[in-house]
Amino acid sequence: MLTSAVKARVSGLGFWYGNVRALHGLDMEIRDRKVTALIGPSGCGKSTFLRCFNRMHDLTPHTRYEGSIRLYPDDIDLVAKAVDPIEVRMRIGMVFQKPNPFPKSIFENVAYGLRVRGARSRALIEEQVEKALRDAALWDEVKDRLHGPGLSLSGGQQQRLCIARALATDPEMLLFDEPTSALDPIATARIEELITALRERVTVLIVTHNMQQAARVSDFTAFMYLGELVEFDATSKLFTNPGRKATEDYITGRYG
């Protein structure tokens, strides 16, 4: 089960905000169609790391990447200057901490990525939107009000809408940045189920504050501390038999 192809290889990845170094030479492999969780205390750089994968940092001035994240099978370096961040974001979707649907209709929210990619055929867009909403386990709840505002949905539904929006364009990889931290336990459980199901078709990278969540949804877990990767292993191994003292201290709640 744990021997799937490598989807992305991170080597010597460093990241700078101006003169502040946020990530120090990370090395790890992201497995294809598996869920990889990033855990660690606040400020350890896990969100910064996640945002390297879709070049969100390019929107902030005075930031700099070092090293590489090679995406397979095409073997392109996601953080290379020569690679257009928009090309990267066309292939790697993201779901944010707080649900952030556009103040448009449910349908238009999901269709937006397709429209950006130049989709014109009404029938094709409708088909893709329905598929994405089904994949995000939201279709049954919204099929009668597709043209109602996305912001009228509950928090958990809004987050699933954001997942559908990211899925509509068939990304190769999905990034989740603490997707349930603003949700109640029931909505959280639904998102977790969804992430587990998504593994069938997309590589998932998830940042979470919640260690039980990492243990529940992920196949691999990386523990980060102070911008460094402390330990990276199969989730079952990392949580039951951590190799490093720092990891053990963190997962048993001694700090963080």
Binding site: N54, M56, L59, P61, I86, R89, M90, G93, M94, F96, K98, N100, P101, F102, P103, Y112, G113, V116, R117, L151, C162, R165, A166, T169
Partner: protein
């Protein structure tokens, strides 16, 4: 009883005092405006009729009207809006979404704000030299419209930037994460969601411009005009004519200024009536701004 409860009674007294004080100031300010308006309407009542709107200026006060003035003002506002809004909104978008945050941008930003405080007569003098003589536009509607556009440009820019800034970062990130370009994020999301604020800024700017007298006197508005500009619509192809842009003009505040400076007191009635109408136009524009803001706020809520 808590030991601190005595302090609460005393502190809440300040609360009430402030409420009363604020209310008084507000009432005083509104009462002045209301008194001004009713006084204008009362004085001008004799002339507030349809004839007043459809007659040209005349030597006989009872026959004089504001036809040329309100047509002139409307056309000038049209030119002003067509110039100031696209330029102002584009400048704001550039400053807010595109410009790198460096010293040059900072200097531009500070100066845009400073420009809003420049006295309007200075704009008039600039326009006289630049538009009227240098560009050879003459004492025309186009020159007046451009002058007022220049005057309200800072207002439009500042208001638009505020509106753009109110769009949450998370919305921009959502669009970028889907692969949108900077232009797509601006055109599909940021600008539509901030349209309420943009329109408000535009109307506040225009209601400032509508009452401006000094700059258009400086560039040479006529105070006695008994003809209308060339009509913008024509019977033959291409049906639109822009000849009116080059026509001489007068405007509401100029007409008023002319009437109050006449010795015959009967003209004051005309001035009062014109003042009431001008104030009405301004209030109407502000009302429109409030309505638009209210409507759009209901559409976009975070």
């Amino acid at each position: 009883m808590l030991a601190a409860s005595g302090g609460v009674v005393r502190r809440k007294r300040f609360d009430r005092l402030f409420v009363v004080l604020g209310m008084l100031v507000l009432i005083a300010a509104l009462a002045v405006l209301l008194a001004l308006f009713t006084d204008l309407v009362r004085q001008g009542a004799a002339r507030l009729n349809p004839d007043f709107l459809t007659s040209f200026a005349s030597r006989r006060p009872a026959q004089a009207g504001i036809l040329a003035a309100w047509v002139g003002t409307s056309l000038i506002m049209l030119v002003t809006a067509c110039v100031a809004v696209p330029v102002g909104v584009a400048a704001a978008i550039h400053l807010e979404e595109y410009a790198p945050k460096n010293w040059l941008t900072a200097i531009i930003e500070i100066n845009v704000t400073n420009l809003a405080g420049v006295p309007s007569i200075i704009y008039g003098l600039l326009a006289l030299g630049l538009f009227v003589y240098e560009f050879g536009l003459g004492q025309s509607i186009l020159a007046a419209g451009l002058t007022l556009a220049l005057l309200i440009l800072p207002i439009v820019i500042v208001a638009t930037r505020e509106a753009l800034r109110a769009v949450p970062r998370t919305i921009r990130e959502a669009a970028y994460a889907l692969g949108a370009t900077r232009w797509e994020v601006t055109a599909h999301h940021v600008l539509p969601y901030s349209m309420g604020g943009v329109l408000t800024g535009m109307i506040i700017g225009l209601s400032r411009a509508i009452g401006e007298t000094a700059p258009i006197i400086t560039i040479g508005a006529l105070s006695f005009i008994a003809f209308l500009p060339t009509p913008p619509f024509t019977g033959e192809f291409p049906f639109l004519s822009f000849a009116w842009l080059g026509d001489p003009f007068t405007a509401m505040p100029i007409q008023m200024f002319n009437w109050v400076s006449r010795p015959d007191p009967a003209f004051r009635v005309n001035a009062a009536a014109a003042g009431a109408i001008l104030l009405g136009m301004t209030l109407l524009m502000n009302g429109l701004a409030i309505w638009l803001r209210h409507r759009l706020r209901k559409t976009f809520q975070w």
